[in-house]
Amino acid sequence: MNNIVSIQNLAVDFYSIDGISKVIDGISIYINQGEVVGLVGETGCGKSVTAKTLLGILPMPPGRIRQGDIFFLDQNLFNIRKAERDVLKQEFAYIPQDPMTSLNPVFTIGTTMLDLIIWKKSQNKIFKYLLNRRKRFLIKEAMNYASDLLEKVHLSKPISILRKYPIELSGGMRQRVLLATAMIGKPKLFVADEPTTALDVTIQKGYIYLIKENVMREELSGLYITHNLGVARILCNRIYVMYAGRIVESGRTSELLDYPIHPYTKGLVNAIPKITGEEFQPINGHIPDYLNPPKGCRFHPRCHHRMEVCSHIAPNIIEVKPRHFVSCWLYNSER
């Protein structure tokens, strides 16, 4: 198998006083070696929860995994011991959403990166770390490594940046620093959670090309979460469209965006103002309440093409065209 990650039939619940909210309901995603996969959808449809479950940083409770498996390099992350999982997790890199709040304002960039590098070097053991943190030659080595990393993300004068506090850097520079920090452990997989939403258009474009360059050089695979379909077009090989905790459509980027099939994807594409000046149409209604989600297809209350079946049985995922999957009764011949 050349899948680096495969999530199979994953379902995540959240327990609260009001009841159980079924946020993620049976999703399957795979990422091939050297491929960047986009996860697209509205706010509150479970994109970030998916990423956090994959990384194992979802707070539990309130979260709980009802069913499903996550395989990473052919090992099931839920079945192995914690120590083994920690070793595997070193292959992950996480690029967080907000560059303003993700860096600790009381430490310099150098300290932040140094801590991480030495922590990695001392095999995640606290005594070894405390010992190593005092060794001069290790610190010097780590500093050189950090400035190398900063140079790779095209920051000029990396040594002076290491001495600066996050507040002294602009938004684009902070986001670059976060990318450099993510690359410390030489990961195989990166998970980026809307890293460009806080950036300007011109800087965003530069940043996307930077990620692309890093992916090529380090032979990374990635999961890129975004709600900007234009960004997804540049960066991703394949796209999964998510709605209310389910995958509704997936396929190769160009085909999915040019010829969307599912009514939700069509609505999403139509809702974006385009420079061709075509009219845009909003999708009526809003995301369902997860405490008692609609039966059957979760999109049917907002759908223009809904039928009798839609409100009773959830549709299966079918291959409509080669490598283009959709979950909708409109295209299911075994109605």
Partner: protein, 331 residues
Amino acid sequence: MKNENIILETENLCKFYFIPNKKKSIFHNQEPIILKALNSVNIKISEGEIYAVVGETGSGKTTLGNMVSRVFEPTSGKISLYGKDIAFKQGKNLIEVRKIIQMVFQDSGAALNPRQTVEYIMSVPLNICSSLGKKEKMFKIKKVLESVDLPIEILQCYPGVLSGGQKQRVNLARALIFNPKFMVLDEPTSALDVSVQAKILLLLMKLKKEMRLTYIFITHDMSVVKNVSNRVAIMYLGRIVEVGQTSDIFENPIHPYSKALLSAIPVMTKKEKSMLPKEIILNGEMTSLEDVSNTCPFISRCQEKKDICKKVECPKLKEVNNGHFVRCILY
């Protein structure tokens, strides 16, 4: 550009901030650093127009909006509304201005006080600027809520319960309560989802038709600009670098910065990609506003720069086509 029905005009509008110089020497106090947030901006807006202001963070778009709606006072310059100068008005005279110009602020969540109900939030402008009775106030509030498609039950809610789109609607309703002629919209859709964004944009268009409004539309999303506005001003470091009809600028961008900005739009379909200029990726970041010299502000990132650019002072806006102005020495 036709000169008829000009609703708002600014002349050499400036806003400087004075930052105390930290490097104090013992012998003499050094002069404070001048931060030029806005540097002699001239705009003319005719009635019923949607005037988009585009630019990067820190280019002074929001400052321009705040200045025009008189949230703060300009350092120098003129703002004339229907021919009257409002740049330095205060007190009662300013309240009269407020009834004509209203502003929708940037972050819809932060613009509403989380400890006040929607009813109270909506009645604040009425308490300040009018002397209406309780019943009349309620009547007015309900009427405005209807026009932005909000249910009346929302009046008892706190902003924390509302969704992003609803918050933005409450903001809009608060601005619309005096039937203003002129609205400054500061990034009205940047915090919203695509489908909600489309709804708010359509609502804005509907309101404009019904109430005969004029908008200044501050944004950094070029594809929204293309769909919404009549004219565009592109700003860079406190200066307007290019103004023109929307179609002119999209078809024929002249200033190197406008070209870069247009080419950076993340587009979705093939058709759109063919409409954009060739890809330019800008190197580096915007220079800090503190060390802006008298030369062209874009000089550090420009890819078409020549030796003259460094020697000559910043050029003035020149008319290239009918109503298409550019601030670049090469044209």
